[in-house]
């Protein structure tokens, strides 16, 4: 790449040369998720035009179904950009749905919401403290927490679903609309917007990226990298607990299985979106498209009539392909 730059510079001059140079220097790998999204979208639109893929209802459905993954993945973007991982998000969502449902039937809607968020706050703090203060790898801490959270959720409910009969809650977090727009879409938009601005436009966001990119250099620059690591895991926990309430609202119940396996979808969405698995680079908007791409694939494969085993194979292959295209060098 260096050589080509030099040689173009040497030949110099001309608007078309300049354009060619810009084109060559354009790091298209950063945009592979958007290209991939468009390609897959057009592919399904043509292939499945008779199955109603393009109908407004179906498109809204894709958004709705990916809302929880999108929300979780926004938090995960911070964790991965900081060169850590959070495997506990799926079971945190499950535990949060259960706690929300139980507190809600006992004491009402506000305590219910607070109980759900408290789950994320507590689990996120424990994850963060173990990683940043004791230096235990986040992979292990959150792997253990994955089991603990889902176990607690199953234990306190004796594996029984906890119905939510509060319509306000269900409308607010689930099936309701804000004006003409489905609530789930509004929630994901809020999380994506805040997440994107904070990561790219605040001091905290820059420090997360610097810590993930080169922790030693960040330390030498006076950044408290331990605190940053604590904070990203706390954020991830709280955001996951909010996603749990979205499950609870949409499915009008709390259940320990809600969110199970979401950590993998969220990680896939983040990596597809161009966030480096090794930290230092991250894009929340990319993550949104990563989540949407996964939703798009799921939806298209169902409409195409593949059964769930075939869907898993195709989905896995597409994710590997996309990540392979997006990798450096």
């Amino acid at each position: 790449m260096n050589n080509s730059t030099v040689s173009t510079k040497a030949s110099g001059g001309g608007a078309s040369d300049k354009f060619k140079r810009t084109l060559r220097e354009l790091d298209w790998r950063r945009y592979v998720i958007y290209i991939g999204f468009v390609v897959v979208f057009i592919f399904f639109a043509v292939l499945l035009r008779d199955q109603g893929f393009l109908s407004p209802n179906n498109l809204l459905n894709i958004f709705r179904q990916t809302a929880t993954i999108t929300v979780i993945a926004v938090g995960m973007t911070y964790v991965i950009a900081c060169a850590e991982i959070d495997l506990s998000v799926g079971s945190v969502a499950g535990l949060s749905s259960v706690c929300t449902a139980m507190a809600l039937s006992q004491w009402g809607i506000v305590p219910g919401i607070l109980a759900g968020l408290a789950v994320g706050l507590v689990v996120g703090s424990i994850n963060g403290a173990l990683v940043s203060l004791l230096g235990i790898p986040s992979f292990l801490v959150t792997l253990g927490m994955l089991g603990i959270a889902v176990g607690v959720a199953q234990w306190i409910t004796a594996s029984a679903p906890q119905p939510i009969l509060n319509d306000t809650f269900n409308l607010l977090f689930g099936s309701g609309n804000f004006g003409p727009v489905p609530g789930l879409i509004v929630w994901s938009a809020i999380f994506v917007a805040i997440g994107a601005v904070v990561l790219s436009r605040t001091k905290f966001g820059r420090q997360v990226l610097a810590t993930g990119g080169n922790r030693t250099a960040a330390d030498f620059t006076g950044i408290n990298t331990k605190r940053i690591k604590f904070q990203v895991l706390l954020i991830s926990g709280v955001v996951a607990s909010f996603a749990g309430m979205l499950y609870a609202g949409r499915l009008e119940s709390g259940r320990f299985q809600w969110g199970s396996g979401d950590e993998l979808s969220a990680i896939a969405a983040v990596i597809l979106g161009g966030t480096s698995l090794f930290g230092g680079a991250g894009s929340v908007v990319g993550t949104l498209f990563g989540a949407l791409l996964i939703g798009l694939i799921n939806n298209g494969l169902i409409l195409a009539g593949l059964d769930s085993s075939q869907q898993q194979v195709v989905r896995g292959a597409i994710i590997i392909l996309a990540v392979a295209l997006a990798r450096k060098k």
Binding site: N2, V197, R201, T202, K203, R206, Q207, L209, A210, G213, N214, T216, A217, A218, D219, F220, T221, G222, I223, N224, S276, G280, A281
Partner: protein, 502 residues
């Protein structure tokens, strides 16, 4: 021990890289059971010569004879087979394995079943250590052992491969004094067993103590090979330093800095670990203080303590006449300090991030408007820094890893000077930087002092220290052994001698 046969003979070795001759017709010979010191300044060709002997590089011309027979060394395996072992300066052990497993790595003894016989490996390792007359537990995990034991393991590993010639590159740099003594005893025992040792060191006292002969390289040629009884330390230093003309690096008499009554920075008997011991000094505004010392003398460690990276175990740091509690880099920055770290790639920069993001990292508070960062302000601030420090970059959005070493160093400098520190500590500011950029950086340092900043320069390049420093502190084993005004130092040679303490 006194057989005069050369264990290794390298005849008229020449080697060039990209058309630049690094070695020119060099002859080098080590006798059986001899400790042969190899000396020379930076870029004299020592490490290239040794890499040819180890099979890392292949000589363009010349031949190598081992025990009188010509050998063709094309790979590290060839070198090992010829009986040449290397004790690496940066150790080549796998920390998670045991001592015995490391010693026999890739040459594990096998039992009848074809599986690795760990018991046999431990037994053999014990034998080797017994021969070396040192006490190391072969079953200990390397990660749990101190550096001295790593080194012993390295030596045992070489001996296990029947090495007859050991290359030791600055082996005492990371050792404590009593460990150094133990190493010298071991070297003497190895010598008795007829093992030859090529000893690379900048420490004159060590060379005199254990080496039989010395070869000095200068500018890719052999200057001399003599028994140490025939050469004086002054001759060796002169041989290493040479009569280099470093026009751009010459000292320029500066106006006397305003020796204000209250020093900007004062260290009062500070200690940390065993590399910083009871260090006291003062630094005034407008002054450039050089820190000179051999590798491992505690130069970098002193900078780390001052900047709050390593804990201060005793003593006090005073800034501007007030006692300061520097417990973290953040506190140090708040107190007006900045550190340009030794390793810019690992410690100074986030390589994959853009030049702009790197520059702004310590300055984020300055471009904040409410909770958000002002992108436009960030762009103009970074552009002004790029211009001020003449960083050559096509676009500030380019990743900093694409820049040359010199330009990367300018980015680190600009990043820190943007914080407008009162005290700037530079650790090896011109390492791996071309000569042009080097003099630019030295000029910048002079400018900063002129503008009233206090500067500490750590460097292993004496011409550079002499070119900028108003005063030079000599560090040895973590303590200050000399505090010299620039005018008291006649030339590079006398600084070398002061650092060596001979």
């Amino acid at each position: 021990m006194n057989t005069e046969d050369p264990a290794v003979e390298m005849r008229s070795i020449s080697k060039g890289f990209n058309g630049v001759n690094v070695l020119n017709d060099v002859a080098f010979e080590v006798r059986t059971g001899e400790v042969h010191a190899l000396a020379g300044g930076n870029g004299a060709g020592k490490s290239t010569l040794m890499k040819i002997l180890q099979g890392v590089y292949h000589a363009d011309a010349g031949s190598i004879l081992v025990a009188g027979k010509p050998v063709d060394i094309n790979s590290i395996q060839d070198a090992k087979a010829a009986g040449i072992g290397m004790v690496f300066q940066e150790f080549s052990l796998v920390p998670s394995l045991t001592v015995a497993q490391n010693i026999f790595l890739a040459a594990e003894p096998q039992g009848r079943s074809g599986l690795i016989d760990d018991r046999e490996a431990v037994r053999k390792a014990r034998e080797i250590f017994a021969d070396m007359e040192v006490d190391v537990d072969p079953r200990a995990h390397v990660s749990r052992l101190g550096t001295a034991y790593w080194q012993l393991t390295e030596i045992a590993k070489a001996l296990a491969q029947d090495a007859r010639v050991l290359i030791m590159d600055e082996p005492t740099a990371s050792l404590a004094r009593h460990e150094t003594e133990a190493l010298f005893d071991l070297v003497a025992r190895l010598k008795k067993r007829g093992i030859s040792i090529i000893y690379i060191s900048h420490r004159m006292d060590e060379v005199y103590r254990i080496a039989d002969r010395i070869t000095i390289l200068r500018d890719g040629r052999r200057l001399l090979t003599e028994p140490l009884t025939n050469v004086t330390p002054e001759q060796i230093v002169e041989g290493i330093v040479g009569k280099k003309i470093e026009g751009q690096l010459s000292y320029r008499q500066r106006d006397d800095y305003s020796a204000t009554a209250i020093p900007v920075l004062e260290a009062k008997g500070i200690s940390s670990g065993n590399r910083v011991r009871n260090v006291s000094f003062t630094l005034h505004a407008g002054e450039i203080l050089g820190l000179a010392g051999l590798m491992g003398s505690g130069r970098t460690e002193l900078a780390r303590v001052l900047f709050g990276i390593d804990p201060l175990e005793s003593g006090e740091i005073w800034i501007g006449g007030k006692k300061a509690a520097i417990t973290s880099p953040r506190r140090a920055i708040e107190a007006g300090l900045a550190l340009i770290p030794e390793d810019r790639r690992a410690q100074g920069l986030v390589l994959d991030h853009s030049v702009r993001d790197n520059l702004l990292l310590p300055l984020l508070d300055r471009i904040r408007r409410g909770p958000l960062l002002d992108t436009a302000a960030g762009k103009s601030l970074s552009s002004s820094l790029i211009k001020k420090f003449a960083v050559k970059v096509a676009h500030p959005g380019k990743p900093v890893r694409l820049l040359s070493g010199g330009n990367q160093q300018k980015v680190v400098l600009a990043k820190w000077l943007g914080t407008e520190p009162d005290v700037l500590i530079l650790d090896e500011p011109t390492a791996g930087v071309d000569i042009g950029t080097k003099s630019e950086i030295l000029d910048m340092i002079r400018e900063l002092a002129k503008a009233g900043k206090a500067v500490i320069v750590i460097s292993s390049e004496y011409p550079e220290l002499l070119a900028v420093s108003d005063r030079v502190l000599i560090l040895r084993d973590g303590s200050i052994t000399g505090d010299l005004k620039r005018s008291e130092i006649a030339d590079e040679e006398s600084l070398q001698l002061a650092v060596q303490g001979v």
